[in-house]
Amino acid sequence: MTLFEQWVALKTIMRREFLRFIRIWIQTILPPVITVSLYFVIFGKLIGTQIGDIDGYRYMDYIVPGLILMSVISNSYANVVSSFFSAKFHRSVEEMIVSPLPNYIILLGYVSGGVLRGVVVGITVTAVSMFFSELRIHHVAVSLAVFVLTAALFSLAGFINAVYGRSFDDITIIPTFVLTPLTYLGGIFYSIKMLPEFWQSVSQLNPILYMINAFRYGFIGVSDIDLTTAFLIILAFVALLFWFALSLLNRGIGIKA
C-alpha cells in the first residue's frame, strides 16, 4: 500500500471508531460525566471543605486534574478493549485482516479511536469541572502532552487486553482488579508526601502516579514527581506497549488459528 492509501485506511478506522462511541454516547460519554460530577460534589464540596489546602491549593482544585485524567484513562482503555474484543467476537476483525492493511495501521487506528474518546470525555469532564473549581491551566503544552500520551498508553493497554481476552469477563478483570486500584492509589486524591516514607517508595512503582502528577503540574504547577522523569516513564511505557501490541498482531495472537 502507498502512504496515501495507508492514510486513507487509517482515517477509515478512526472515523469508524469515532462514530462507534458517539452513536452510543449515553453509554460512553454520559457515565464518566456523572461519575466525575459526583466526585466533585462529594470529595470536592462536602468533604473537601473539611480537608483544607494541599500544596497551597484548595482541595477541589488539587483533585480536578487527577479526576479528569482518571476519566481519560478509563475511557481510552474501555473504548479499545470493548471495540477490538467485539470485532474479534463478531469476527468483523477479519475485514481488516484480509485487506492489505499493515498491522501498525490497524493498531494506530484503534489507538486513535481510544485517544479520541479520551479527548471527548476529557474535554466534557473539564467543562463540567469549571462549575466546581476555578480552573486555570499553568502549562498548556505539558497538559496536552500528558493528556494525549496517557490516552494512547491506556488505549494500547486496552488493545493488549482485548487480544488476550476470550470472553467478556476477561475484558473486565483488568479494569476492575488492576486499573481501578492503581488509579485510585496514583495520587488523585492526595499528595504522596502525606504518606509514610515506605508507602511513598511503594507508590513510585505505580506508573499512573507519574501521569497524574505530570498532568497536575500542567494544571496547577505542582507535582510530587520530577517532570522529566514522569515524561520519560510515560514515553517508555507507550513505546513498550506499542511494540508488544504490534508483535501480538504480527503473530496473529488471539485472532489467527
Partner: protein, 306 residues
Amino acid sequence: MSALKIENLHKTYRNGTQALCGVDLEVRAGDFFALLGPNGAGKSTAIGIICSLINKSSGKVSVFDTDIDDDPSRARSHIGLVPQEFNFNIFEPAGEILINQAGYYGIDRDTASERAEHYLKQLDLWNKRKVMAKELSGGMKRRLMIARALVHQPKLLILDEPTAGVDIEIRRSMWDFLREINAAGTTIILTTHYLEEAESLCNNIAIIDHGITIEQTSMRRLLDRLRAETFVLYLEDDLQLLPNCGEYEVHMIDSRTLEVLVHKGQNLNAIYQQLSDCNIKVVSMRNKSNRLEQLFVSMLKKKVAA
C-alpha cells in the same frame, strides 16, 4: 497465468489436528473453479490460509504470482473473500460496511461511496443501505458479503458456501450475478455443498478430502467419467404394463413415471424412439440425481476403501 497456486500446503492446529496434509492446487486466471470436499475436508482452512486468516504450518501459496509470505499486502489486495459465516459488525449500516471495507484497501471515500452504490444496486440492497446489518434477512446478509468482497474490485473472488441457507430464487439470481462477474474477468473459486451449483457454474474442479487434493480436473472431464446416468421420465398417459425397451434397463415407478438407466455409449434418442413406437408420450424428464453428486460420492467412497 495462475490466479492461485498452492504447493504442498500443510496445516496442523495447536490441538494437533492435521487439517491439511499437502494440498496442491492451481487455478488459472479467469477460471470459475469449484473447490469441493466433505465437511472437515480442509476447504475452509485452505481458504483461511490463502486470505491470511490462518497461519500455515508449511507450503507455498501465491496469488497472481505474488507469494503470500514475500508480499502479503500485495497478495491480499488481489483477493475478495465471502466467508462461510457472517463476519461484519452487525451494528453498522449496510452502506457503511462497504465504504469502510473499501477504506481498508486505501480507496478514498468518494470512490468508495460510488462503488458501494454500484454493488448495492447490483445485488438489490440499495434500499437497505441505511439499515443496520443485524436487521437484514439471511439472504440479504449473504448478498451484502458478496458486495463487500467486490468493493475493492479484486482479481480473485473466493466464495465459501455463499448460497448456504438462501432460497432458490435468490440463489439463482446470485448465480447469474457471479457468471457476469466471471465473464468480466474476475477469477472465482467456489466452495459449496450444492453440487448442482458447482456443476452449473464451474469450469474446473478440485476435490479435497482429509486434507489432501484427491482430484483436480475440468468439470467436463470429470463428468465424462460417469459410467451410467439414471433419468426419470414423466408420461402423458397412465401405463398398465412396462414396455419392452430392449437393451435399456427400465423400471416403472408408478403408472406415469419411468426410471431409465443409460450407460455410457447409449443415448436417449433410442429410448425415446422405442417409447414412441409403443405410443407412449414423454412429457418431461430429469436426472434422478445430480451427476456431479454421483461422482463425488463414488470418489469419496473409493478414497475411503483405498
